[in-house]
Symmetry: C2
Subunit: 303 residues, 2 copies
């Protein structure tokens, strides 16, 4: 069985770990968001790909919710003391990966090749594939101006309301070859409980990927990132309120019009009015077991 | 009083600290070797400039003899686990500096500008100036082949005997403007107890710097790196034996023919046959006081 999961960062990574646990080794391909990739201290940082990698490899910090367990922060403190930028928190262990990735890209390798090497180095059977090897960057339009994603999310603490989201470079972005191949061979497609606007839409902004999902011959099931109309973390609920007009399942489903066959929602959000088939379950992923159970429900709905 | 010191890495840095302590703030300019600069994990590392910077700022690890005190090694361990190179030991605190330097260079700034910023960030009144902003790299010719300096020194543990040393790029290298200016305004010139072949010669390989010293109107005093004919650390004695025919003061002085007015040597090496005026003193720099005393002797000889 081949399963493709579209995933953003932390919430998606948590779900990805559940899907990986629910499947046999090698059955899962995660297509990851690169819209929030950012250059920090000259290094190419791919926060969402790394969240997935760290979670799948069991290297993530469960308590902090992002980055690596056992992390230290000495290089960043040093860089800051020497006059370097320090607005984006990069731990020492994390930096090791960014150095290797940046060196690979500088040598002319594609992001998807470098990412495949990293997954292999972690011993993963799951494939992690960036949506595109090209430069695609999420930009956030707010009343205070238009910002790069990380500038808004980290730099400004995502305090500005969002009027629109744009994907710079999307029109010219080719999908990563492995992403297309995975969708062609998929027996089921899942969309992680990630922020629809800034985690999943940047993947769907690659026209060929959207077309492959729109023209799918297998089922596609999304998991809502909201519980009781609230985001577990981050600004998804505020963005849905402002841009979709609400935080009900139909507002989430509306983000995926024509692309999903069912939406998995939390018991707290049960409704007959989602505009799409719903699967009602507990979507709270407080541990790996809970993530796996949620994955099993989503996989069953996608079967 | 304006003093210029030509310096290599660890031994030179230790002496530089003594000279800085012996002078009033702002009187010292250190012209540093860049021949052993190296790209590691995509970062521009300038080991000798950094040794001087760390020593002058009191950030150096006295016990280990190189790098920073309180150093940790997590980023390198991580990079290694992800498949990155790990032959060159970069600590986390050290990495912070290399990230800032590399980003500055990538933005088009000259190495001397970036270095001046780093010294300013450390609050130094002493100026640290690379011999050149251009690419000048030391290559070591050995019976086993010709190697880049760090490849030989670190990668091969400088086990190969050295037949000759070459300075790639030296013919086209312009001196850093601040190095020329400092030599023009110098009231005294010192050469640190560094390895003549791979620490000082790469500075003198920049034709305009050599010419400025050869045509000096002030005294120039070198301090021998040997004590009792032995290097305190590193391969200077083996290199002198093989390439100069011995490790006596005259062999050291021979490396600086026409460029020095006196050679400071250790009591253990006292001789009437140095081929140049000698100053006999204790040259062992076991602490800052000893370094300052040695600096005072050298400065007096240069007065």
């Amino acid at each position: 069985m081949n399963v493709v999961l579209l995933s953003g960062g932390v919430g998606g990574a948590r779900f990805a770990r559940g899907v990986q646990a629910a499947l046999a080794p090698g059955e899962l391909t995660v297509i990851g968001n690169v819209g929030d990739d950012v250059k920090v201290l000259g290094l190419h940082v791919s926060p969402d790909l790394d969240s997935v990698l760290y979670a799948l490899a069991g290297l993530n910090d469960e308590e902090r919710g992002w980055g690596r367990a056992g992390e230290t922060w000495n290089a960043l403190a040093s860089a800051s003391a020497w006059g370097g930028e320090d607005w984006f928190r990069l731990g020492d262990l994390d930096l090791g990966l960014h150095l290797v990735r940046t060196q690979g890209l500088a040598a002319g390798r594609a992001l998807s090749e470098v990412t495949a090497d990293l997954a292999a180095a972690a011993g993963l059977a799951t494939r992690i594939v960036p949506a595109t090897d090209d430069r695609l960057r999420t930009r956030v339009v707010t009343p205070a101006g238009t910002f790069g994603f990380q500038e808004w999310f980290v730099g400004r603490g995502h305090r500005d309301e969002v009027d629109a989201v744009r994907f710079e470079g999307a029109r010219l972005a080719e999908p990563a070859p492995a992403a297309v191949a995975a969708l062609e061979q998929a027996d089921a497609i899942l969309i992680a409980p990630s922020n629809p606007y800034v985690s999943i839409q940047p993947i769907l902004a690659v026209a060929e990927l959207r077309a492959a999902i729109a023209g799918r011959r297998v089922r596609c099931v999304a998991v809502s990132p909201l519980i009781g109309g609230r985001a577990v973390k981050g600004p998804a609920d505020r963005m849905l309120s402002r841009m979709a007009g609400g935080t009900l399942p139909r507002h989430v489903a509306g983000c995926y019009g024509g692309l999903i066959d069912a939406l998995a929602i939390d018991d707290a959000d049960a409704t007959a009015d989602a505009g799409v088939e719903t699967v009602v379950t507990s979507t709270r992923m407080h541990d790996l077991d809970a993530s796996r159970r949620l994955a099993e429900v989503a996989l069953e709905a996608a079967a």
